[in-house]
Amino acid sequence: MASETQLPHGDDLTIDGERRRDFIYVATGAFAAVGAAAVVWPLINQMNPSADVLALASIDLDLAAIQPGQAIVVPWRGKPVFARQLTPAEIAAANKVDAKTLRDPETLAQRTKPGNEKWLITLGVCTHLGCVPLGAREGEKRGDFGGYFCPCHGSQYDTAGRIRAGPAPKNLEVPQYAFKSPTSVAIG
């Protein structure tokens, strides 16, 4: 087994302790890591919403049948949307509050369209953990602030859909929408 080949040993180290082989090891490891990452990404990304889910859906909503003080619930992108015609008393109650003192400071005007302050259109999804708050249907509990009440963990929203009490961090989200006529809107 006599061989002329000299395998590198510990004493073949250069002065600064590096070997040529170290570079090969690091390069191999780096190459494998990049390759692994390239394979892992599709495995992770497949869990993101698929194309059919992402395809934007928009709906037209007729508000004509909603009387003052009433609300309707319509599905949009798998979530409920609350469309409510506020009564003058509810508008007054919402405007009486100093928005700066609120957890998520917004005025009623900021949450509605100019000239259509009586139409409050929000997602019916509690900003805490995503339950559907009560208060949109007749006879449901509306909480101490006269808006919506989430039964899951007791978040309370006022007549402008703003968070006033309970664990939710934000006001009920206002979706993108535009008035197409005085009594119909396009959501999405």
């Binding site: 993101n48 919403p49 979530k79 995503g130 339950c131 989430c150 039964p151 899951c152 664990p167």
Partner: protein, 438 residues
């Protein structure tokens, strides 16, 4: 991995000798569960619950695999396919009730198992890794149970999925992206149901793998025992077989009897009736609650109702619920008392029972509507839970005056019957440390 006086496997047949030099499976079983595994001789019935948990997992896997042959993971027919299993599939009602009741029983058994470990100090050195692996199993169990519950696609399934996946949206900046990624959409839908089915099928086998590590980590130091005193010699142990195989089979008989009573006579007693209403994304049930075994953690989640220190209430709740479990991972280093068993820790024993009462109280709060006085009680009970592990346990470990320990397991057993050990027997054996496997 056993004590030096452990009996060694001797194949008695030619075939046994043939296999022993090729695939020594009988040797493994003999050394792990047979006469070759010396076990403290004073283990009480609380030590049955590890084996019971293993049996509960096997029942879940067998019934689950069978249910998977009939279940359809599609939002349009998932609920109906469950009812189809109940009504049309031969014996389907029994298999589904075994699976649903089995989940509850699995948790019940594991909770007894965990509290037994807490009482006898089984998390203390040299069993810390054993304890950590147990907690990993517990976390995996919670994830598996949650996803399994969603598969039914009833109202509680849907809204439970909504609430629990929304926990991730509390994470700053990337929360919403994680939430959408988990669901595969913007609310729980078909993509969510499909992936939950896939993961619900996978995770039990991962649990099984971690259980193998858990049992391995158990067999290195061997079982703790009610005195918490180390095994000192052969007089402190009995062979696992037949002593504990017999004891475990007796406990298993009792367990299966109670299990059968629930499966056949009270199959829905532990569940929520609302889950017999098909999922409706536009209507939240008036009261969303998880299954009973997750209620204490749910109470901690609900305990935070106001923002505080610039962190939103929602994130506080999520962090607290997560830390309630993660805290247990640090227990072996929070409790520095050298005495394991609460039988010799008079002060810690009292607080152990306070903790048990606190956990039950949290469970009650978790099941109540978010109204006073339950919100306040839930907040106080949550505060106690954290104080118990972070303040009370370290303080007790420092200042408690513990009772004198028996010299050996054997001495404590004999003392119960008014006898003293023969002179020079306790601790007379040379090697007290477990030896690695041959």
């Amino acid at each position: 991995m056993s004590f030096p006086w452990a009996k060694h496997y001797e194949p008695t047949t030619d075939f046994g000798r043939y296999m022993d030099s090729r695939l020594p499976l009988p040797r493994l079983v003999y050394g792990a569960l047979g006469a070759g595994y010396p076990t403290p001789k004073n283990l009480n019935y609380f030590y049955n619950f590890g084996v019971l948990a293993g049996v509960a997992l096997v029942i879940q896997i067998i019934t689950g695999v069978v249910l998977g042959m009939h279940y359809a993971a599609n939002t349009g027919i998932a609920f109906d396919s469950v009812e189809f299993i109940m009504r049309d599939v031969n014996n389907g009602w029994m298999l589904r009730y075994m699976h649903a009741v089995g989940a509850s029983f699995f948790f019940a058994v594991v909770y007894v198992h965990i509290f037994r470990g807490l009482y006898y100090g089984s998390y203390k050195p040299p069993r810390e890794v054993l304890w950590l692996l147990g907690l990993v199993i517990f976390l995996l169990m919670m994830a598996t149970a949650f996803m399994g519950y969603v598969l039914v696609w009833g109202q509680m399934s849907f809204w439970g999925a909504t609430v629990i996946t929304n926990l991730f949206s509390a994470v700053p900046i990337v929360g919403e992206a994680i939430h959408t990624w988990l669901l595969g959409g913007f609310s729980p839908d078909n993509a969510t149901l499909n992936r939950f089915f896939s993961l619900h099928y996978l995770l039990p086998f991962i649990i099984f793998g971690v259980i193998i590590l858990h049992v391995w980590a158990l067999h290195i130091p061997g079982s703790n025992n009610p005195t918490g005193v180390d095994v000192k010699g052969p007089q402190d142990t009995v062979p696992f077989h037949p002593y504990y195989t017999a004891k475990d089979f007796f406990g298993l008989g009792v367990y299966l009897t109670i299990f059968a009573i629930f499966v056949f006579f009270l199959p829905n007693a532990l569940g929520e009736v609302d889950n017999y209403i098909p999922a409706n994304p536009l209507s939240t049930p008036p009261h969303i609650v998880p299954e009973w075994y997750l209620l204490p953690f749910y109470a901690i989640l609900k305990a935070f109702t106001t923002n505080f220190l610039f962190i939103p209430a929602k994130l506080w709740g999520v962090l607290a619920m997560l830390s309630a479990i993660l805290l247990l991972f640090f227990l072996p280093w929070l409790d520095t008392s050298p005495v394991r068993s609460n039988s010799y820790r008079p002060l810690n024993r009292i607080f152990f029972w306070v903790l048990v009462a606190d956990c039950i109280l949290l469970g009650v709060c978790g099941g109540k509507l978010a109204e006073e006085p339950w919100v306040r009680i839930g907040q106080l009970a949550s505060a106690y839970y954290f104080a118990h592990f972070l303040i009370i346990i370290p303080l007790i470990a420092r200042f408690e005056k513990t009772l004198p320990l028996p010299n050996s397991i054997s001495e404590s057993v004999l003392a119960k019957y008014g006898r003293t050990p023969p002179p020079g027997s306790a601790g007379s054996f040379g090697g007290t440390m477990p030896q690695p496997a041959e």
